[in-house]
Each structure stands twice: as structure tokens, then as C-alpha cells.
């Protein structure tokens, strides 16, 4: 099983003890959950950059004026870095962990696909204009294009001394980063992992997805018959992972168990998923095997669900392959329908949303918009939350450019033997 831990029972159970999020719904977890429950999309008009020349004109953007606690060195941080730091700070605060004694044993595992592209675009625009005018270009603007920016910013802000690693696997970055962090904690490489993802809106991705004709002119409608593409969003999410026994020993409240993770690749096409969802199905099976769960034990799925024709069809095929006859009855939601596609941060934010659903015993809805697709045989959660008070195990999937797939399984704490 690719990517699956071959012997998870021999290793440590991993607890999620903190969550943090910056999303188009607000700068904290409470606003995220409230917005997700409402089923109202945050996708709409935006002004992060001038987009009159673009084909579409909607996105889900974070309100920068609502930033609650501005980092001291904000002037040297990209918007993306600020998202990441805010999410990580909230996750650390909620975990009530004292990093003071374990900074050297704490690692940061972050995903990002745009890094400081938004600022680099501004810089490059100024540079090209200056060259065209024959004037010496200025270098006073910040240009930090590299994708390691957000993860490094988190580590710097929190004074971390352990491993710091950034994964850039397009739309699967955040999920893969969390998957790596789970393995690192399970392996004993670190005692605490701060894992997540961060991405900001920028012209490159907005124009690029429009060039692919993959952006819907209306807010996206994942898995619906009239879906016409994705909606872009931005934000960050972070989770705190610790060995379960360590978390319990320090009196922490485990929010969930990070039970399984796996990553695969379609090796099929740069932008189109495997039509039968082959790689995605392998990733799901790998994560289930790592969690030692039968597919029948999954209570709901937070799908990648972008709203593109090909993604949703391939993902649906993967669910059918793994869950068989049960697939049409399996509750499925897509966080992207409410906050847009956060690209390198999407898998992280959706992991947080999945855990929130487990904690609250209900699956957040998608907007009840669009029409039913007879080819999508899934139990979509539409319009209002689905009460699943007894939900124990949930799956979150991420499918990316280049065929990279990641799957994460979370389990409500207290409902299973962690050494199972």
C-alpha cells in the first residue's frame, strides 16, 4: 500500500491537540466553524489585486483589515506568511502547550504553493516598468517568492529549533505536510509538530486557472451537474500534533487522533486526474490501512471537491472504488464550496474542518446550489449541517496538479483503542 505505515500498531498514536485557521470566513477557528455551518459561501467580489482583465471576477479573500495581532516584523512578511503565523499561533494557544521546554523537539511541516508570489508580482511589475522607462529599478519592495516562506515564518515566530520542512505539491501540499508531520511524530522524530499550509491569492494562479478555463464565473458547485470550475480562495490552517500519551500526560485534551495518512501519484497527466481516480483510491486505501480501518467504518468524507468536471468525476470514481456499494450513502461535503480553493493550504484547512465536524458531531454543508448530477452517486450534504453525533472516523482527500494525491483519516478521541 503506497505511503501507508506498514506497521502502525507498533508505533505511537498521534493526537491532534490544537487547531488554528485563517480563512475567508475570518481570522480564527470560531469564525471558520460558524461560516461552515451556515452553508453560505464566502466566494464573491474581491479586491486583492486588479482583475478587470481577467476572465472571471470572484474569489474568496481574507479581510486583511481584520488581522487580530500583527506580528512585529510584519513589514518583512508576505501576506502568506502572516496567514501562516496567525493560524499557527492560534493552534499553539488552543493546544495550551508550553513550547518553552521543547522547541528543539518541535518541528514545523508546512505546505504552500505560492509562497510570496503576490508580493513578487508587485516587485516584478515595478522592475519591468522601471526597465521600460530606462530608470534604475528599485529593490525596496519585498520579493520573497519561495514557498518556504510561510513555514519558516512560523518557525521563526515561535522560536522553533527542530526540523522545518516545506512541501510544495500544488493542491495537496497542506495535506501532505500534515501527513509528514503525523509520520514524524509517530516515528519519534519530534515530540510536537506544527503542521499545516498557507497560500494567498495572486495574479499568477488566478490567471493560470482561468487560462485552463477551470474557474467558474459563479461560486463553485462541487459535485453538482452544472458545476463549471473552481473558485479560488486563500488562507492558512495549522494543527498541533503530539504523541497521544504525551498529550494526556500533560493534561491536554486531544481533539482527535490523526489515525492515517498516505500519499500517491497518478503518474497520468499534469492537470487531469486519472479518470478512474486510481491514484486517489490508492491514497484512500493507504490512509485507511494506516488507521487500521475498514472502509465501512468511515462516517463521512471531506472531499477535495473542487467543482471542476474532471476532478469531481474522478474523485467520485475513487470513492466508488474504495467504498463500493456504500458510496452512495456516504455523507460527503466540500469545504471549497464555502471558502474557495486554498491551493497549497486547502488540504490543511479541510483537515481542520474535518476535525471540527468530528468534534461537533455534524458535517458542515455545501450551499444548496445547482442541480443533481446523475453521474455523481454520493450523499452530498447540502444546505444545512448533517447531524452525525456518533461519527467516529472521517476521511479528508486532496488531489493535486501533477497527479499528487493525499488522504488523511481522523478519529474522534475516546472511541477507540489507540493501540488498535
Amino acid at each position: 500500500m503506497p505511503g501507508a505505515d506498514p506497521d502502525p500498531g507498533a508505533s505511537r498514536a498521534v493526537a491532534v491537540t490544537g487547531l488554528g485557521a485563517v480563512s475567508p470566513l475570518g481570522w480564527n477557528l470560531a469564525s471558520l466553524w460558524e461560516g461552515l455551518r451556515s452553508g453560505r459561501t464566502a466566494v464573491g467580489p474581491f479586491d486583492r489585486f486588479h482583475h478587470s482583465g481577467h476572465r472571471t471576477h470572484i474569489a474568496a479573500q481574507v479581510d486583511l483589515t481584520a488581522e487580530p495581532e500583527r506580528p512585529q516584523n510584519k513589514t518583512r512578511m508576505t501576506v502568506n506568511d502572516r496567514f501562516a503565523v496567525a493560524a499557527a499561533r492560534e493552534a499553539v494557544a488552543r493546544s495550551e502547550i508550553d513550547l518553552g521546554g521543547c522547541r528543539g523537539r518541535t518541528g514545523v511541516y508546512f505546505g504552500s504553493s505560492t509562497g510570496g508570489m503576490l508580493e513578487s508580482e508587485t516587485y516584478l511589475e515595478a522592475l519591468l516598468a522601471a526597465v521600460a522607462r530606462g530608470r534604475p529599478p528599485t529593490s525596496s519592495l519585498l520579493a520573497s517568492q519561495q514557498n518556504n516562506g510561510p513555514g519558516d515564518a512560523v518557525a521563526r515566530d515561535l522560536g522553533i529549533g527542530g526540523p522545518v520542512q516545506t512541501i510544495s505539491a500544488a493542491c495537496a501540499s497542506g495535506a501532505m505536510a500534515i501527513g509528514d508531520a503525523i509520520v514524524a511524530v509517530r516515528r519519534g522524530e519530534v515530540d510536537v509538530a506544527i503542521a499545516g499550509g498557507s497560500d494567498s491569492l495572486c495574479r499568477l494562479t488566478y490567471a493560470g486557472f482561468n487560462a485552463l478555463r477551470a474557474v467558474d464565473e459563479r461560486p463553485c458547485r462541487p459535485f453538482r451537474a452544472d458545476r463549471a470550475g473552481l473558485s479560488l480562495g486563500e488562507g492558512a490552517a495549522a494543527v498541533i500534533l503530539e504523541p497521544l500519551e504525551r498529550a494526556l500526560a500533560r493534561g491536554a485534551r486531544p481533539l482527535a487522533l490523526a489515525a492515517g495518512e498516505a500519499a500517491t501519484c497518478d503518474a497520468h497527466h499534469m492537470t487531469s486526474p486519472h479518470p478512474e481516480g486510481l491514484g486517489a483510491a490508492e491514497a484512500i486505501r493507504g490512509a485507511l490501512a494506516g488507521a487500521r480501518l475498514d472502509p465501512s467504518e468511515i462516517d463521512f468524507v471531506n472531499a477535495h471537491g473542487t467543482g471542476t468536471l474532471l476532478n469531481d468525476a474522478a474523485e467520485c470514481a475513487a470513492f466508488a472504488a474504495v467504498f463500493g456499494d456504500r458510496a452512495p450513502d456516504l455523507p460527503v461535503t466540500s469545504t471549497k464550496s464555502l471558502v474557495g480553493h486554498l491551493l497549497g493550504s486547502a488540504g490543511a484547512l479541510e483537515a481542520v474542518a474535518t476535525i471540527l465536524c468530528l468534534l461537533h458531531g455534524e458535517v458542515h454543508p455545501m450551499p444548496d446550489d445547482g442541480t443533481s448530477d446523475p453521474g455523481i452517486k454520493l450523499r452530498l450534504v447540502l444546505g444545512r449541517p448533517l447531524r452525525l453525533a456518533r461519527a467516529r472516523h472521517a476521511l479528508s482527500t486532496s488531489l493535486a496538479f501533477g497527479g499528487a494525491n493525499a488522504a488523511l483519516v481522523f478519529t474522534r478521541h475516546g472511541d477507540r483503542d489507540p493501540a488498535r
Binding site: P2, G3, A4, D5, P6, H51, H54, R76, D81, G104, R105, G107, S112, S113, G115, L124, L127, L128, P136, P137, S139, Q146, N147, N148, D152, R156, L158, G159, G161, P163, V164, Q165, T166, I167, S168, A169, M176, R187, E189, R203, L204, Y206, A207, G208, F209, N210, A211, A263, T264, C265, A267, H269, M270, T271, G279, E282, F401, G402, G403, A404
Partner: protein
Amino acid sequence: MPRSCSHATEIGTLRAETVVTGLGTIGPCGHGREALAAALAAGKPVVVEVDRGAGLHREGGARLAALVKERDVSRWVPAAAARRMSFPSKLAVAAARMALAEAGIGATEAGGPRVGVYLSTTYGPGLFTEQLLRQILLEGAEAAQPYYFSECVANASAAQLAIAIGARGPNVTLTQRESGPLLAVARGAQAVREGRVDLALAGAVEEITPLLHALLDRFGALARKEGALAEMPRPFDRRRDGFLAGEGATLLVLEREDAARARGARALARVAWSGAAFDATATASDWGDGHAPLAAALRAGLDEVPDGAAGVGAVVSGASGARRGDRIEARVLRAAWGEARLPPVLVPKAVTGEYGGGILAPGLLALEGAQFGPTPGFGEPDPAAGVTPHRGGARPIPSRVLLTGLASGGAAAWLVLERAS
């Protein structure tokens, strides 16, 4: 303690070891290990003049880079496939096929769900990104070409590599600047050791464009001509003023030692230890001065290796000529070794340039006893650094080498390779 993978003593059996069975490298020195070995033995930076015709460079700035001159990789990547790839993707696929060939793994054996790809890049496909941005900024957003977009993502090269060989296991792109190549190998080695994959292709790829070169120079990162001093990187030298930008790709084939031996493959090296840490005193674009915790982390890791630091026969240093980068690298090494004498410190990036995965292949060559010429640019020791790099001449063939990768921004990674015979 930042151990990111364990030594065999923890696993307890030979079968769980990860070995390197293939090396593919394409860079400014040419294609393959022989061209690289010749350049390292000569001890001179392999440079060309960068095209400054776009007017993006500043007056008096850097002019040189270690660019790939032999750009035809059609021996490894057929034209029909190459037309869909950016230059770094072609380099990655070519280097991977070169590595697989050395490992004795045929095209039909290289793919499948048990094969993973672990690739590092700092800038991703730079030229395609630039061309896409120019279209958006200068011609209008609707001028953006979808081909540039799909091939400008950081994981494009890893994805193209997976498609080329049918690798359906984890497809991981690490973007952690100078520490990325070592993290990628460590990550791949762990996956092999833990049985998550049977085969890993791990390494690094980078492309340097005129725009990227100009930006690096504008931010004061690159070596330049200063008075009578020629433009060249001067690792550990008092007069160093920046690094030499480089491009290329290096891929390693990683597999379990028992599997390699069972199929009669020659193990080039064993991955003995890897570690990682972070210096939170670093700024976003430079190195910090928190050498003591990094040294403690390195020292603790080396204690896991047989004979500890004394068992390391050579350091293949990631020093590049960066002012602060070389200083903290030197201080970490000196503190990790304490009162003991440092082994020979080899600095391949002075020849191959920074960012092109330039440390991985020289690390393997160093383990094999390849001769390294005098470190280019080194003439005046820097008291603030205190490390004298290799000055050429014969050196004992080491049983273990330490590869170092301290990144601007604060990330650090180390890797110990040992002889597998």
C-alpha cells in the same frame, strides 16, 4: 535532538538499511559523474556569462553563473515527451533515467505504486514562471498560456518524472532552499527504510534564468567583481561576498540494501544518518547566528553514527561564499567537533554553484575517494569563521562523509553517507 531518521542500530537488521544504487547528474560541468569529477578535481568554478540583455541587472553586479551548457538531453528524454516539459523537468527526468541506468533498473521495472519521488527545488521552473508573469503583467491576464501555468508549479518536475517512469508512490516536492536536497534524500531514505516504498528517486533540480540571476544579485546574494578581485565565490574566505548561482539536476536511486544485493546491484553508499534543525535567529532572506543549537543537534546526530564525529572522514560542506551562511556553517562545524580536528572540508558549490543540487553528487564522489582540487577563491582565512577548506592534494578515502545544508531563512539539514561495501 532533531534526528530525522534512525541509524541501522535502531532498526537492528541489515535488511532495513537504505542504500544508493544509482547516481544521475547533469549540471554546469556536463552530463554524468565523470564530467563532474573532472571539474571538482580541477578546482575552478564552471561559469558562463549570464545574458544581461533584458536590462534587469544592476550596474557593476554579478555577471557569471554556473549554467548547464549541454542542454540537449534527448538521449534520456525523447523529443515527443520533452516538448511538454520545462527545462528543469527535462533535467530531472534525464538525471533520473541516468541514475536508474546506473542502478541497473530497466524502464519497465522503475514504475508502479511502490516507487516514490522526493525532489527538492528552491525556485521551481523559473523560465516558465517568468514567461507566464510577463504575459499576465505586460500583455494582459487573458494572454496567459495554460501550458506555462501547469508547468510552472514547483512540483512540475517531480510530476513529470513520475509520469515519465510511471512512479505512483508518494510524489513529494520539498522547497526548503539550501537544505532541501538533503531533506529530499533523507525523506526518500526513510520511506525506503520503513517499507513505505521499495524504490525512491530522490534529489534536486534547479533552473537559473537571467531574471532570477538579476534578482539574486539585486538582493546582494551573489559574488561580484570587487576592485582587483575577480567575480567568484570564496567559501570561508575573509573576502567572500556571495555565492555563484548554479543550475542542474541530481537524482539518486534509493532502495533497501537487501533488495539491492539480492538483485546484484552495487551499493554506492549507505544512508547512515540524517538530521534537521532550525535557527530561529535567521531572517527570511539570510542566515542567523544561532550556531550553538545547530551544532548541538549535529553533534547529537553524529553520536548515533559509529565512531561519532571521528568516524566522519570528510565534510562535504554546503558553504557557498555567502557571508553569513559560511560563517554559521563554520561555527556549527567547529562547535560540533569541539576540540577535535575537523576532517577535510570539501566545498563543491565553489565549482558547481548554489542551488543545483550541487552537493549530492560531489558527496557520493567524495565517498568514493574522488580527488577534489583546491577550493576556488580561498586565500585568506576568515577569523570569524575559522575553517580552512580543502586546499587540494591527496586525502584518505573516507568511510563516511557528512553533507551539510544550512539554508538562508534558518532551516538546516545534514546527511551522513557511508561506504556500503
